[in-house]
């Protein structure tokens, strides 16, 4: 009750939701790379734009609501089958270069958000500690 609001008044919940999204997307990209030679395999992806749209809406809502009351956990992510214009002779449509670069970007975003989340908790701890460390 009270502690929920106290601990969620920074960007914590938003960043946690983004982290679970990047982790799920990483799994999908890993699956695509593992199936790069499987016949008739269609590449899967999570739509980043749709997710960001929903996230921005929810963030705007939480800006106007009292801090710590708006949750982010019920935003869902949709699996899409992107059409990347590649079709190999065995029916596989995996684009390896785009996958590897997407995976690198996704991982970098994940690591940056983890750092920011750590900073948020660090600030709360500094406020509680009552003196400069």
């Amino acid at each position: 009750m009270f502690f929920d609001q106290l601990l969620n008044q920074t960007n914590g919940p938003l960043l946690e939701r983004v982290l679970s999204f990047t982790a799920a997307r990483h799994k999908l990209l890993a699956e695509n790379i593992a199936n790069a030679d499987t016949p008739d395999y269609r590449q899967k992806d999570l739509s980043v734009d749709a997710f960001n749209q929903m996230l921005q809406q929810r963030a705007a809502e939480s800006d106007s609501a009292p801090p710590g009351t708006v949750g982010f956990d019920d935003i869902d992510e949709a699996i899409t089958y992107p059409n990347n214009g590649i079709l190999a002779h065995d029916g596989n449509n995996v684009a390896m270069e785009q996958l590897v670069s997407d995976q690198a970007k996704n991982a970098l975003m994940h690591n940056v958000i983890v750092e920011l989340l750590r900073q948020q908790f660090q600030q709360l701890q500094a406020a509680l500690k009552d003196h400069v460390s």
Binding site: T10, N11, L14, L15, V18, V48, D49, N52, L55, Q56, A59, V112, I113, L116, Q119, Q120, Q122, Q123, A126, A127, H131, V132
Partner: protein, 102 residues
Amino acid sequence: MVNGITPNVGAVAGATGATAKSGAASGSGSTSFADTLKSSIDEVSRLQQDASKAVEDLATGKSENVTGVMTAMEKSDLAFKTLLAIRSKLMDAYDEIKNIPV
């Protein structure tokens, strides 16, 4: 001996605030220490809100300015820690004054 105390009290009071005119000269238009403190707190709050907004923009994909976010967070962190240090010094000074035997 009483005369010897007042300069020390004045030195301690001067060390705790930028302007030491607490309350007595507030009517003359100069800012009191309370006002300075309040504006500092507002500034720290504003810096923190800026940092929070920058983090939100980065996480939702609205902007990709990672260095901007990092510097905003560092600034707000430093401002907060400075305010915390000033508060600690104030508390220490108040304790010292409190313990002066009258």
